[in-house]
C-alpha cells in the first residue's frame, strides 16, 4: 500500500512536529512518522519532565529554608512517587496536545519506524517504509500495525539524538542510569555519582541534592559545563560545593561495579593517576548525545554523515541528496529544542522560497541549575575572535531590589557590546530566573540594537530585568545602582 505526500517528516520531536505543522499550514500534503511517542526527547524525557522536577526542587529549597522567612513547617516530607506521577501528567497533557495539533492541521500520522527504501523510477519521490511492531526508541516489541510504504517529494529527517555511552560504560537501568531513567526514580537515593558534568547531569543532579541526596560529579574536562562563560560557572560551582557536592575535575570513570541491590562502586581515576572508589546507589551517565540515525538506512539512499555521525546539511538544511533534509540534534550543533524547531520552520519555508536559509543572530539558551545560567550571542572571547572590539557591562543581582525580595540575590548579568559601534553582541547571566531574562537581549540582538537602546528603554520597577538595563548602562560606565570607576566611554551618547 503506497501513499504519496508532498512532505514527509521522520520523527515527531520539537523539530519534526513543528516542521510538519508549518508544512501543512503552507498547503503541503504532509505526513509524519513517529516510532515512539509524540513530542520526542524534549517533551517525554528532556526539557519538560526535568523542569517539572527542578521547579519542585526550588520549592523544596524554599520550604527548607523557610525559617529564614518566618515560615515554620512541622512535618515536611517529599512523596517522590507522587511527584513523578504529577510530572507524568504534564508530559501526557503536552504530548497529547502535539498529537491534536498535528491532526487539526491535517497532518497524517504514521506510527512506526521510518526506513528509507529508495526512489521512485523518475527519482522524484523518496520511498520510506514505516515498520510497525518495534519501538524506534528502545527497540521493544509493540503491537504490529500495517507496514505502509510512503512516497514523498521531500523528506525531513528529524530523528534527534540519544544518550552517548562508552564501550566500558553502558546504561543498564540498574547501576548506571540514563537521563530518561533518572526521571522515573521512585526511591530517593542516598548517594549518586554523576558521570559527566554537563548540562543534563548537573540539572538532574541538582534536583536530587534537594531531596537530600549526596552527590559526586566526575568530569573529564578541567571545568564543569565546559564551553559556558567561566564566571557564570564559578557561581554555581561554589554553590554546589557549599551544598556538599564533591566535584572531581580532570577525572574519568574507569569502571562501575554492580554490588547487588542499591550498592554500586564507581572507580574514578584522576589525570595525575590518583585512583579512588565511590560507593553509591547508582551512577547517572550523562556524557553527551549522539545522533539517532541507525534505523534510517542512510547509506542506501546516499545521505552523507560527517564527524561523529551527524548528518551533513547546507544552509537550507538539505542533505547530500536533493529533496532530503535534516533538522535538529541529528545534524549536530547546539542540542536545543528551539534550534530544532527553528530549523524545521526555515527548512519548510525553503520549499516555498529557495532563498530562505538559516539567518539567526541570537540563539538563546538556559541551563536550569541552581541558580540558573542563561546566555545568548557572543562571549567576550568569541566576540574578539569574530573581529569585534568587545566591552563588558555588568550588574550584580545584589544591586537589584526585586532579586533581594526573592531571597536569593546571587549572580549577575553581563552584557557584551562592541566598543566602536555600541552594538549589542551577547549576554551571559547567572542568577534568579535568568532563563526568563535572556530573551530581552535576544530580541535586542536580532533587531540590531545598541546597548544604549537597552539602557534607554524604561524597565519596570521592581523587576529582575532592571539588571539588564543597569548592565547596559554599565557598558558606558554609567550604571546608577552600582558605583563604577570611570571607564573609557564606549560611545558619546552621554556626553
Amino acid at each position: 500500500m503506497t501513499k504519496q505526500f508532498d512532505v514527509l517528516v521522520i520523527g515527531a520531536g520539537p523539530g519534526g512536529y513543528v516542521a510538519a505543522i508549518r508544512a501543512a499550514q503552507l498547503g503541503f500534503k504532509t505526513a509524519i512518522v513517529e516510532g515512539h511517542k509524540m513530542g520526542g526527547e524534549c517533551l517525554n524525557y528532556g526539557c519538560i519532565p526535568s523542569k517539572a522536577l527542578i521547579s519542585t526542587g526550588h520549592t523544596i529549597d524554599k520550604i527548607q529554608e523557610g525559617e529564614k522567612y518566618g515560615l515554620m513547617f512541622e512535618k515536611f516530607r517529599v512523596d517522590l512517587p507522587k511527584l513523578i506521577d504529577w510530572k507524568a501528567g504534564i508530559v501526557k497533557q503536552l504530548t497529547g496536545g502535539v498529537a491534536q495539533l498535528l491532526k487539526a492541521n491535517g497532518v497524517t500520522v504514521f506510527q512506526g519506524t521510518g526506513v528509507f527504501e529508495g526512489f521512485s523510477a523518475d527519482g522524484r519521490y523518496k520511498k520510506v517504509k514505516v515498520i510497525s511492531g518495534v519501538d524506534s526508541y528502545d527497540g521493544s516489541k509493540k503491537a504490529p500495525g500495517v507496514d505502509d510504504v510512503l512516497e514523498a517529494e521531500r523528506v525531513i529527517i528529524a530523528t534527534g539524538s540519544t544518550s552517548a555511552e562508552f564501550p566500558h560504560l553502558k546504561i543498564n537501568g540498574r547501576s548506571v542510569l540514563g537521563s530518561k531513567d533518572a526521571l522515573e526514580v521512585r526511591d530517593t537515593p542516598k548517594r549518586i555519582v554523576v558521570i559527566g558534568g554537563g548540562v543534563i547531569g548537573l540539572e538532574l543532579g541538582s534536583f536530587f541534592i534537594k531531596l537530600g541526596t549526596q552527590m559526586d560529579v566526575v568530569e573529564f574536562a578541567p571545568t564543569l559545563l565546559s564551553g559556558t562563560d567561566a564566571e557564570c560557572v564559578d557561581v554555581i560551582q561554589k554553590r554546589l560545593v557549599k551544598k556538599g557536592v564533591k566535584i572531581h575535575l580532570e577525572s574519568k570513570v574507569t569502571a562501575v561495579e554492580e554490588k547487588g541491590k542499591g550498592k554500586t562502586l564507581v572507580h574514578v581515576e584522576r589525570k595525575d593517576g590518583t585512583k579512588s572508589t565511590i560507593e553509591c546507589d547508582w551512577a547517572l551517565l550523562t556524557v553527551g548525545r549522539k545522533p539517532r540515525t541507525a534505523n534510517l538506512n542512510l547509506e542506501r539512499i546516499g545521505v552523507k554523515v560527517g564527524e561523529r555521525g551527524f548528518i551533513q546539511v547546507n544552509n537550507r538544511l538539505e542533505t547530500s541528496v536533493q529533496g532530503i533534509f535534516a533538522i535538529g540534534d541529528v545534524i549536530g550543533g547546539a542540542m536545543l529544542a528551539h534550534k530544532a524547531s527553528k530549523e524545521g520552520l526555515v527548512c519548510v519555508e525553503g520549499f516555498k522560497n529557495p532563498n530562505s536559509t538559516m539567518d539567526v543572530r541570537a540563539l538563546p539558551w538556559a541551563i536550569f541549575v541552581d541558580p540558573e545560567i542563561a546566555g545568548v550571542g557572543h562571549t567576550e572571547e568569541s566576540a574578539r575572535a569574530a573581529g569585534w572590539d568587545p566591552v563588558v557591562g555588568k550588574c550584580p543581582f545584589a544591586a537589584n531590589g526585586r532579586a533581594l525580595t526573592t531571597g536569593d540575590a546571587t549572580g549577575f548579568v553581563k552584557l557584551i557590546a562592541d566598543k566602536k559601534t555600541d552594538r549589542l553582541l551577547g549576554a551571559h547571566m547567572v542568577g534568579p530566573e535568568v532563563s526568563n531574562l535572556v530573551q530581552e537581549v535576544a530580541m535586542a540582538i536580532e533587531m540590531g540594537a545598541t546597548s544604549d537602546d537597552v539602557a534607554r528603554t524604561v524597565h519596570a520597577h521592581p523587576t529582575l530585568p532592571e539588571t539588564i538595563m543597569e548592565a547596559a548602562e554599565s557598558v558606558h560606565g554609567m550604571a546608577v545602582h552600582i558605583f563604577e570607576r570611570k571607564k573609557p566611554k564606549a560611545t558619546e551618547q552621554h556626553a
Binding site: 544552509n315 541528496v321 532530503i324 545534524i331 522560497n353 538559516m358 569574530a386 559601534t421 555600541d422
Partner: protein
C-alpha cells in the same frame, strides 16, 4: 577550467541567469546546454565549452551576469571514475569506468571521451538519482548565532524579506537609527530598494491628506439606515498580500517601460477611419493566402500603410541619441517594424525586417511564423531586435483605443484596434459602415503634435483607400 559567460553577440553586455540545466557534480559533454541566460532580447541556452564535471557553481539563478563573468568550473580531468556515481559512497564504480579513468587523460578531448563512456555505464543500483555533490559545495551549514561585524543591523522581518527577494542587505541604502557609522536597514528602505527600476520609486512615500477638508455639504435629506442584510462584517482574518520577486522577462519589461516613459515625453493622438474598403480587400487577400496556407490578417496591410507614411515623415522613423557630441537625430533608412506579441510570460516584440521591400504575403507569413516562435519561447535574439517603429494590435481583445508606451529608443508606436460596424453619416444619409480606431504615441522631443496628426492622416489615407496603398506598392 573556468566556465565564463561567452559573448552572446549583438552587443549584449549582460544577462540574467534564469536557470541551471545541470547540477554541481554533473558531468557534461562539450556543447551540451548547461545554463539558461536571458538578455534584454531573448533567452539563450549557453553550452559548455568543453566536457567535464561541473564544480564550484558561483552564479545563482536570478543573478545578473556580465559577459566574461565566471559561472562555474568545469573539471575536464575529473570526468573520470567518480563521475558516473556522483559523490555517492554506496555506489561502487563499475569495471568499465575504472578502465576508462586509467587512460592517460589528454586535455579536453580525453575528458569528453570519458564522459560519454561513463554516460553509457549503467549507474550502480544504490546510486541515488538525486545525489548532488557534498553539501559543502553548495554552502555548508553555518551554526546559527555568531554575529560578525559584516552583519548589517536590521530587524528579523527585514532580513527575512531581503532573503526571500534575494537582496544583499549591505547593498540597501539604510535610513534607520545609527549603530556606529552604519544605519539600520528599515523595512521601507528595503521596499524602496526593491521598487527601484520597476518605476514605483514613489512607493512608500506618504500621501498627505489635508486636515479638515470635509466633503462639500449636501442638502439635508431624510435617509434610512442601511439594513443589516446589505452589510458584511469584514473584521477577522485579513488576507495577506503575496510578494513575488520580479525576475526575467517581467523585470526586463519593467525596466524598458521606465526608461521609455522617463526619457521620451509621450503624447498620444487618436483617430478613427472607415475601413470598409480595407475589409473587402483583406477578404479577397485571405482567399489567396489560403491557397498557400498563409493566414492573412489586417496587420500586413497596416504595416505597409505605416511604412508608406514613415517614408513621408522621416522623423517618425528615427531615434534621438544623446552623447558627448550632444544631441543627434538618427534618421533610419531601414523600415524594420516591430509587432508586439503577448506571451504567458509577458510582452515580446519580434521584428519584420525590411518591411518596405517585402510583399504583403511575405509579411503575413513572417508575422505568423514569428508570433508562433515567440509564444513558444523559441525566437532568437536576432529576431527580436532592430525595430525602428512598433505596432501593437488589440483587435482581438476589444476596447476603443489605448495610449501605448513607445518601444524606446524608437520615436513612435501605433495601436490598432478592432473593426466594428457603425452607423455613419454620409452626404446627409445614415449608412452602415465599418470603422477602426488608430492611436499613435509619439516622442514630442522629435515629432510635434501637428506633425503627428499629419502622420496619422498619412497612415489613414492609405488604409481608407487601398488604391492609394497600391500606388506605392513594391
Amino acid at each position: 577550467m573556468e566556465f565564463k559567460l561567452p559573448d552572446i553577440g549583438e552587443g549584449v553586455v549582460e544577462g540574467e541567469l534564469i536557470q541551471w540545466l545541470v547540477k554541481e557534480g554533473d558531468v557534461v559533454q562539450a556543447d551540451q546546454p548547461v545554463v539558461e541566460v536571458m538578455t534584454d532580447k531573448a533567452t539563450v541556452e549557453v553550452p559548455a565549452p568543453v566536457g567535464g564535471k561541473i564544480t564550484g557553481i558561483t552564479a545563482k539563478e536570478g543573478d545578473m551576469i556580465k559577459i566574461g563573468q565566471t559561472l562555474a568550473q568545469i573539471d575536464g580531468a575529473a570526468a573520470g571514475a567518480k563521475a558516473s556515481t556522483p559523490e555517492t559512497k554506496a555506489a561502487a564504480p563499475s569495471e568499465k569506468t575504472i578502465e576508462k579513468s586509467e587512460k592517460p587523460s589528454g586535455g579536453e578531448g580525453a575528458g569528453r571521451d570519458q564522459t560519454s563512456a561513463n554516460g553509457s555505464a549503467a549507474p550502480s543500483k544504490a546510486a541515488s538519482p538525486n545525489a548532488h555533490s557534498a553539501p559543502s559545495s553548495v554552502g555548508s551549514y553555518s551554526s546559527p548565532a555568531s554575529l560578525a561585524p559584516s552583519d548589517v543591523p536590521a530587524a528579523p522581518i527585514v532580513r527575512s524579506m531581503a532573503q526571500k527577494a534575494g537582496v544583499d542587505l549591505s547593498q540597501v541604502p539604510a535610513t534607520g537609527p545609527k549603530v556606529g557609522a552604519q544605519a539600520r536597514v528599515l523595512e521601507e528602505d528595503l521596499l524602496r530598494f526593491l521598487n527601484q527600476g520597476a518605476g514605483a520609486v514613489q512607493a512608500g512615500s506618504p500621501v498627505y491628506v489635508a486636515q479638515g477638508a470635509a466633503p462639500s455639504a449636501s442638502p439635508a435629506k431624510k435617509t434610512k439606515p442601511i439594513p443589516a442584510n446589505f452589510m458584511r462584517d469584514t473584521s477577522g482574518v485579513e488576507p495577506q498580500d503575496e510578494r513575488q520577486p520580479v525576475r526575467g522577462l517581467r523585470r526586463v519589461i519593467a525596466q524598458a517601460m521606465v526608461r521609455s516613459k522617463y526619457t521620451a515625453p509621450h503624447y498620444s493622438y487618436v483617430d478613427k477611419f472607415e475601413c470598409s474598403a480595407l475589409v473587402e480587400m483583406r477578404e479577397e487577400a485571405k482567399k489567396i493566402g489560403e491557397q498557400y496556407g498563409v493566414k492573412i490578417s489586417y496587420l500586413p496591410f497596416i504595416v505597409k500603410a505605416l511604412v508608406g507614411a514613415l517614408k513621408e515623415f522621416p522623423t517618425a522613423n528615427a531615434s534621438l541619441e544623446e552623447s558627448d557630441k550632444g544631441m543627434e537625430l538618427v534618421l533610419k533608412k531601414h523600415y524594420h517594424i516591430g509587432i508586439a506579441v503577448a506571451t504567458p510570460d509577458g510582452l515580446i516584440v519580434p521584428v519584420i525586417k525590411n518591411a518596405d521591400r517585402k510583399t504583403i504575403l511575405q509579411i503575413a507569413q513572417e508575422i505568423n511564423e514569428l508570433s508562433a516562435k515567440v509564444r513558444a519561447g523559441k525566437a532568437t535574439a536576432d529576431e527580436l531586435k532592430g525595430s525602428t517603429f512598433t505596432i501593437t494590435s488589440m483587435g482581438n481583445i476589444g476596447g476603443l483605443f489605448a495610449t501605448p508606451i513607445i518601444n524606446y529608443p524608437e520615436v513612435g508606436i501605433m495601436g490598432v484596434y478592432k473593426v466594428q460596424e457603425e452607423a455613419l453619416v454620409k452626404e446627409g444619409q445614415i449608412v452602415i459602415g465599418k470603422t477602426m480606431h488608430l492611436s499613435l504615441s509619439l516622442d514630442h522631443r522629435v515629432v510635434d503634435g501637428a506633425v503627428g496628426g499629419y502622420f496619422c492622416n498619412a497612415v489613414i489615407e492609405r488604409l481608407q483607400n487601398p488604391a492609394r496603398l497600391l500606388m506605392e506598392m513594391i
